[in-house]
């Protein structure tokens, strides 16, 4: 027992509230950033305390894979310590009824499209998709875009949004999204369905949809009592083109420090050991970012995902979370929502995202 009391404050308006608190000179001690891109803004303005001022770098290299440390390095400093992450390249399905209906887990993108069509032929809609998330509406669509980018191209360096590679990636998922026979409720309801409500029809009897792509955290929104491996299971979102291997999309939370006090430092140190994430690991809601995490920390539902992550040929962080705030938490979301809802065509949406990129 350290005697340190931690007060946690969660907020749906996290981005705005944090900016106000920081500008007012009253920042929280430690901030759990789901979006390193947003953190970079604060690091650039010099608000973030570098943990290596009191944690030896050897310790960090021992606890974390180098790629995590690289992702924590911003504006010439270590801007925080990674805590936990979510695997995103997962498709959830109602296992028992899925097997009973004679459907099979697809191994390639073509098989996935064939399965989607087969379900449509059986008179059902295959996919449950919802991107509504309050002021953050649209982020699910950015995830799909990133998945498809990883599966349809390989990029070294940076590309504008309006490049053919990005357009092609978005058009790949559009094949499913814009076909009203493939999406439960049709394309129109995608933008108005909350992302965490969207998988619910999968658990009706009979299921109203059969497939749902989302990170492992979505199991928290599954109906109570749904049993992993029976009522639901997951498979890896299949590769589109073998050339690009089996990429695995992740997003994680980085803990950043804004106030320099001994008890805050102590808590930051605690976040560098996997024991600090045990609550998430045991109830299947996140994986630990620490490479020293023993497998037995994980609950049964997560071991499979940890294995999938290990089997992946590449391991890529959620791009929108790495982009500057106005794009990754702004125009990328809005652009995708405008495109899906039909407010603007794809070229216009992508050009506007490019235009919003800070100079």
């Amino acid at each position: 027992m350290t005697g340190i009391t931690v007060n946690y404050v969660g907020d749906k308006e996290f981005e705005g509230r944090l900016s106000i608190a920081v500008d007012a000179g009253n920042p929280p001690d430690i901030v759990d950033f789901p979006q390193p891109g947003l953190l970079a803004n604060f690091a650039r303005q010099g608000y973030v305390i570098d943990p290596t001022t009191y944690i030896p770098e050897d310790w960090l290299t021992q606890q974390y894979n180098q790629s995590w440390l690289d992702m924590a390095t911003m504006e010439g400093q270590i801007a925080g310590v990674w805590h936990r992450y979510n695997g995103k390249s997962l498709v959830w399905y109602p296992k028992a009824v899925f097997d009973a209906a004679g459907y099979e887990v697809p191994e390639t993108w073509d098989e996935l499209l064939a399965l989607t069509q087969m379900i449509a032929d059986d008179g059902d809609t295959a996919w449950c998709i919802g991107i509504e998330s309050g002021a953050a509406t649209g982020w699910t669509a950015t995830d799909w875009t990133e998945e498809m980018m990883l599966r349809t191209t390989s990029v070294a360096g940076t590309l504008p949004f309006s490049s053919p590679e990005v357009k092609n990636a978005i058009e790949t998922w559009s094949e499913i999204w814009f076909n009203p026979d493939y999406v439960f409720g049709g394309t129109d309801t995608i933008v108005s369905t909350a992302f965490d409500d969207s998988p619910a029809p999968m658990f009706e009897d009979p299921p109203r949809c059969w497939l749902h792509r989302q990170g492992n955290f979505i199991t928290g929104s599954f109906p109570e009592g749904a049993e992993p491996g029976v009522d639901y299971d997951f498979f890896y979102l299949p590769p589109v083109n073998d050339e690009y291997g089996r990429p695995f999309l992740v997003a994680g939370d980085i803990m950043s420090q804004f106030n320099d006090r001994p008890e805050v430092n102590a808590l930051m140190e605690y976040f560098t050991v996997p024991e600090s994430a045990v609550g998430w690991l045991a109830n299947d809601s996140a994986l630990a970012a620490h490479q020293t995490t023993p497998l037995e920390f994980y609950g049964p539902g997560l071991r499979g995902i940890a294995e999938l992550a290990a089997a992946a040929t590449s391991f890529r962080f959620d791009a929108s979370d790495l982009m500057p705030g106005e794009v990754g938490a702004g125009s990328f979301w809005t652009g995708m929502t405008d495109y899906v809802s039909g407010l603007s065509d794809l070229d216009t949406a992508l050009a506007e995202i490019d235009a919003s990129w800070p100079q």
């Binding site: 981005e15 705005g16 900016s19 106000i20 803004n41 650039r44 303005q45 309050g134 002021a135 953050a136 509406t137 649209g138 439960f184 409720g185 049709g186 129109d188 309801t189 933008v191 108005s192 029809p201 109203r208 500057p324 705030g325 106005e326 938490a329 702004g330 979301w333 809005t334 929502t337 405008d338 809802s341 039909g342 407010l343 506007e352 800070p358």
Partner: protein, 394 residues
Amino acid sequence: MAQLDTPIEERDISAGARFIAWLGRIFLAAIIPLIAFLVIYAGFIFLRDSDAPRWVITIIAIIWGVGGIALLYWVFNGIVERLPDEWTLRLQPFVFVGPAIAILLWYLTLPVYRTFWLSLFDRDGFPGDFTVFNPLTWPAAIQSESFVGVTNYVAIFTERLLQESFRNNLMWIVFGSTMSVVTGLFVAWLADRSKFERVSKSLIFLPMAISFVGASVIWNFMYEVRPIDAPQIGVFNAIVVALGGQPQLWDKWVAIAPWNNLFLILIVIWLQTGFSMVLFSAALKGIPEEIIEASRVDGATEIQIFFRIMIPSIMATIITVWTTIVIFTLKIFDIVWVMTGGQFGTHVIATQFYRQSFTARNSGFGSAIAIILLLTVIPVLIYNLRQFREGEAF
């Protein structure tokens, strides 16, 4: 009282004593305020720089704030009362409104001034050694890289999303405030001649008690859309589907953009009708019964009475209510933010300001939007206040 007593006493005391008394009075008039200011200033410095525990700071802040204002009032009032009667009368009002004006300056005028400066800089704000109150630091700041001049203002009038916001704000003004006035007036007129006046007016006034955010949450459920073969939990779609239609997206319905904004505006009408109804109801009751009787005798129809007599009689109230709601709708933020987050073509000036300032952390652009919003509100505000002063509006 003191002034009246003094001459009687003074007759009996020597010139020297009088001089000492005079000195003492000067001392009191100068030293006591000085001490008071020192105490207040020391408190300010302590609050700004202290590392004391939070609770100590909080308690001292309360004592400093409340006590400081009381001390200031006491000191100023003391000074003014020592002055000749004529001056006391002249200055005393300022002692009473002074703190309010000072607070207004500190919390409103200075921030506006600072925001204006911010709007001339880029996303990171002022360069290091710049202070808005020190003209000596201005030239260096203006020559620095982060000074962008009117670029932010140009961007406001050229970016599509901002233009969309202006269009939407205009819709809010035209439809939101006008419909609130029209429905409020209509309801007030009907209720005035109804047996159930109290009940009906209370019911229509009720939404006024709900916050904008609360109302938005309620309406979010009203507009809730579910796939056609699932049970509809939103009132609107339940009705549409029951009548054999397709469930619609209402406020998120971009196929009818920009008219989907009307479904957001409907919320403000629902909220504000009660406000305008109450004021109109009072104004209508203020019209002398004789005029209406006389027009009835002359054979005017009810419609003629309404348009030719009632409306002209309460015109001042109508304008005041209308401009008040125009100001509400110009600043509208909560409803849009909760319902759509500004997506689906529903951004307004205030939501864009918030997005730029706090999500994108572009303080220059955000400040420029805030200044434009202020500039659009001010004329309406002045007109509103002038109407309020001239007519017996309420």
